[in-house]
């Protein structure tokens, strides 16, 4: 089923964009040359129009107690201590010392009650913002963001998803929005596979074939008014841009100092790629860091994984800020659920969807805020209960996307967010 949502918003964006900066847009769309962004006119145009999301997906379920909602001194609290942050009155777990110094950019929601405690169901819920419905494939956050934030004429991918570990690997789905908004998915390599021109085909041959195809297609489309034909043309127009986007994934293009800053670990390198992609105009990038499913040895596991998260996320936020990109880039940490306050005999924590946490940094977010509260042992939400739909409404509001908007599947309206969902206003700028 292809996306039948109204294209009004996109048409206006495209018209205004092409009308005001056609030449620069064409250059921007061909993001094979990052240097193009040094052109002030182009940079200004891109800045005005483009917002981005980098989703740090903590696959397997990170513990809220070892990240954003510590419970010091309680039987459920574990061994880690809370630390003060750069925002008076806000404390987070000592495993995130670098993020503690960047809380002014970040809002924490401590009161998620999402109700699904299995990996598949929880991931589906938090990816799409709603429970599954028979016969209907909802698009995930990446696909909706790509649809709402991407430019129709963009030649870079609209949605890139990186998930290197095999456990719990999920590609993401564009659902009823169709393949146009499906993720470019990277699993085994940091560089996308199968986007090279075949060696047997010269660049000239490739261009000439494309020209011929365009000629025939334009004659064909002149006599027809069809969305399918338009979509086909659009897909082909994107091919050379996608083929040339390989360089965006090549961190060797970055100065050594930038690479050193992100560090030698894969998650850091993927965060650097995410920054490069956003800088080049990709609206949505998901970086999955698996696997946090610490049924045994929760504290040892979180010492490793939180060190990874703390360094990579804080470096990413700094980098975005220094480049003037943070105000238009939303960085989200989210998972399928959190972990039980109770500590099991293997010194592990199990699945827990009743009272857990997430973070939002950057674009549209009121940094230095904490929303919601759990009880003393973290067993229940004590204040400000929020669900998956509320998270989506909040993200859309932060990005300037009208969360009241509806897609239409035939005559059936499908709202962007689940029924009754509302943005969590205290975390919004």
């Amino acid at each position: 089923m292809s996306g039948q949502a109204s294209n009004a918003g996109r048409s206006i964006d495209r018209r205004s964009f092409l009308g005001t900066a056609a030449g620069t847009a064409a250059l921007a769309a061909d993001m094979t040359v990052l240097d193009g962004l040094k052109n002030p006119l182009l940079a200004g145009e891109v800045k005005r129009q483009q917002k981005h999301v980098i989703l740090l997906w903590l696959a397997g379920g990170a513990s809220q107690l070892e990240t954003w909602d510590p419970k010091p001194g309680r039987p459920t609290g574990g061994p880690f201590r809370p630390i003060k942050t750069d925002v008076p009155g806000i404390e987070i777990c000592e495993l995130l010392p670098k993020m503690a110094q960047r809380m002014k950019t970040t809002a924490v929601i401590r009161s998620l009650n999402t109700g699904i405690g299995d990996h598949g169901g929880g991931a589906s819920l938090m990816e799409t913002g709603r429970r599954k419905e028979p016969g209907l494939q909802f698009p995930d956050l990446g696909a909706i963001s790509a649809r709402e934030l991407g430019r129709a004429d963009s030649q870079v991918p609209d949605y890139v998803s990186m998930y290197s570990s095999t456990e719990g690997r999920r590609k993401g789905t564009s659902g009823f929005l169709g393949s146009r908004f499906a993720p470019m998915f990277l699993s085994d390599s940091l560089v996308p596979a199968n986007i090279h021109r075949l060696d047997a085909l010269s660049d000239l041959d490739h261009r000439e074939r494309n020209d011929l195809r365009q000629l025939i297609a334009s004659r064909f489309s002149r006599q027809r008014q069809s969305q399918a034909v338009g979509s086909q043309l659009n897909a082909y127009q994107r091919v050379r841009g996608i083929m040339a986007s390989e360089k965006l994934f090549d961190i060797e293009q970055e100065p050594e100092s930038a690479r050193a800053r992100y560090g030698p670990k894969q998650f850091g390198q993927q965060c650097l790629i995410a920054r490069r992609l956003c800088e080049a105009g990709v609206p949505f990038v998901k970086v999955a860091r698996a696997w946090w499913d610490s049924h045994g040895q929760n504290f040892e596991t979180h010492r490793e994984l939180c060190a990874d998260l703390d360094h990579s996320m804080s470096t990413l936020l700094d980098d975005l800020q220094e480049r003037g990109m943070l105000e238009r880039t939303l960085v989200v940490t989210l998972a399928e659920f959190g972990r039980t306050p109770n500590i099991n005999p293997s010194l592990g924590r199990d699945h827990f969807a009743r009272a857990w946490s997430m973070s939002l940094s950057g674009c549209g977010i009121k940094g230095g805020t904490v929303y919601g509260k759990t009880d003393a042992d973290g067993q229940h939400v004590a204040d400000g209960q929020a669900n998956a739909g509320d998270v989506f409404a909040t993200i859309f509001q932060a990005l300037g996307i009208d969360y009241h908007k509806e897609y239409h599947l035939g005559s059936r309206p499908i709202p962007l967010v689940d029924f009754g969902a509302k943005p969590i206003k205290p975390v919004l700028a």
């Binding site: 670990k265 049924h295 099991n344 005999p345 293997s346 592990g348």
Partner: protein, 364 residues
């Protein structure tokens, strides 16, 4: 000493709140001291009819531990405890008050032990340092550094285990990636190094983090052999569902004489001790459940193994080696392994029973 591992049976079991990570015992008694997940230290007398934990009480607010208490040792007439808060605390045993409190390590303290003569205390921590302290004065005698701060995969390593040799000459330390150093206590210099990389599982593909490490060390009573305990390779590192793993080295030659892996009872080997005869070794630990395993040190076979009511974090034998006191997840337990009284010697002209008629050792 009349201990028989195949006679091992539970004698007492007590529920105690929290996770009991470490213990020490007053000689010749059933009076235990344990460190808990509630950041406190308790006295617990297993000999009385209805024992109850009695907490040690810091006199001042800034005293006491601020995290899990993971090391407990009796030395120089005092109790020395170490915690994930990096502090070592000397306690008066009768008043249960703080005598001395030191910022001993920059990261978690994983274990605290006393030397055989009780004159030294040794702590190991995730700052990858091993520190030897004068038990009476609290002065540092040695700071021993022989372990890498990071794993080969760029994550923080951990220094879990330490053990004094019974002759008091050597000290062994073991870390997360399976590196072992034996130190000469006379000069504080390395006397040997061993590798047990099978204790460390790095999953590069499915889950991209690690699990394992050397969790326990024990010298034989002749100080000739060193046993390292942990967990073998794990397929699914979400859980502790891997085989228990013990490696026994003739440490001065570096020769590994036994690799003992078993998955009937799974999980970490949290503590070990050799019988003074050298004939067997007790290992205890667990995953969601707990276990004890007696290994024959001659052939490496299991003499006896048994589930325990809790994941065992620490244990200690009595002086006769026929009683074991243990602490773990929410429990204190006492087990006995007293050999049955010997039957009368058969008359000279009576045939001796052949081996087939002897009761088989359980789990052998």
């Amino acid at each position: 000493m009349n201990a028989d591992p195949s006679a091992f049976k539970k004698n007492k079991e007590f529920s105690c709140p929290g996770i009991l990570f470490s213990m020490a015992r007053t000689p010749e008694t059933g009076r235990l001291f344990y460190g808990s997940s509630d950041f406190k230290v308790y006295e617990f007398d297993t000999a009385v009819e209805k024992p109850a934990p009695v907490a040690f009480q810091p006199q001042e607010q800034q005293q006491g531990h601020q995290s899990y208490v993971t090391g407990v040792a009796l030395a120089a007439g005092q109790l020395v405890t170490g915690s994930y808060d990096g502090k070592l605390i000397w306690w008066d045993l009768e008043q249960r008050h703080v005598v001395r409190q030191l910022d001993a390590h920059e990261k978690w303290i994983r274990n605290v032990i006393a030397s055989p003569d009780g004159k030294m205390v040794c702590s190991v921590g995730d700052d990858m340092q091993c520190k030897v302290w004068d038990a009476a004065t609290g002065e540092v005698r040695h700071v021993l550094q022989g372990h890498q701060a990071e794993t080969p995969h760029h994550y923080p390593s951990m220094l879990y285990a330490n053990a004094f040799s019974p002759d008091g000459k050597w000290l062994a330390t073991g870390d997360k990636v399976g590196h072992i150093v034996v130190w000469n206590l006379a000069d504080g210099k390395p006397a040997g190094a061993l590798e047990a990389p099978g204790m460390y599982t790095w999953d590069p593909k499915q889950r991209r983090h690690s699990i394992g490490g050397i969790r326990s060390l024990a010298f034989s009573h002749d100080s000739k052999f060193l046993a390292a305990g942990g967990i073998g390779k794990i397929g699914n590192i979400d859980h502790l569902g891997g085989p228990t793993r013990v490696e026994i080295f003739e440490w001065q030659t570096g020769k590994r004489v036994h690799l003992l892996e078993d998955d009937k009872q799974k999980g970490l080997v949290e503590q070990m001790e050799f019988h003074p005869s050298g004939q067997w070794l007790l290992a205890a630990g667990g995953d969601h459940a707990g276990y004890v395993k007696f290994y024959n040190t001659a052939d490496g076979k299991i003499i006896h193994q048994e589930k325990t009511p809790m994941h065992v974090h620490g244990f200690e034998f009595n002086e006769a080696y026929d009683t074991v006191y243990g602490v773990g997840h929410g429990k204190v337990a006492v087990w006995e392994l007293k050999a049955a009284p010997a039957k009368d010697e058969p008359a000279k002209d009576e045939p001796k029973p052949d081996a087939a008629e002897k009761p088989a050792a359980k789990g052998a």
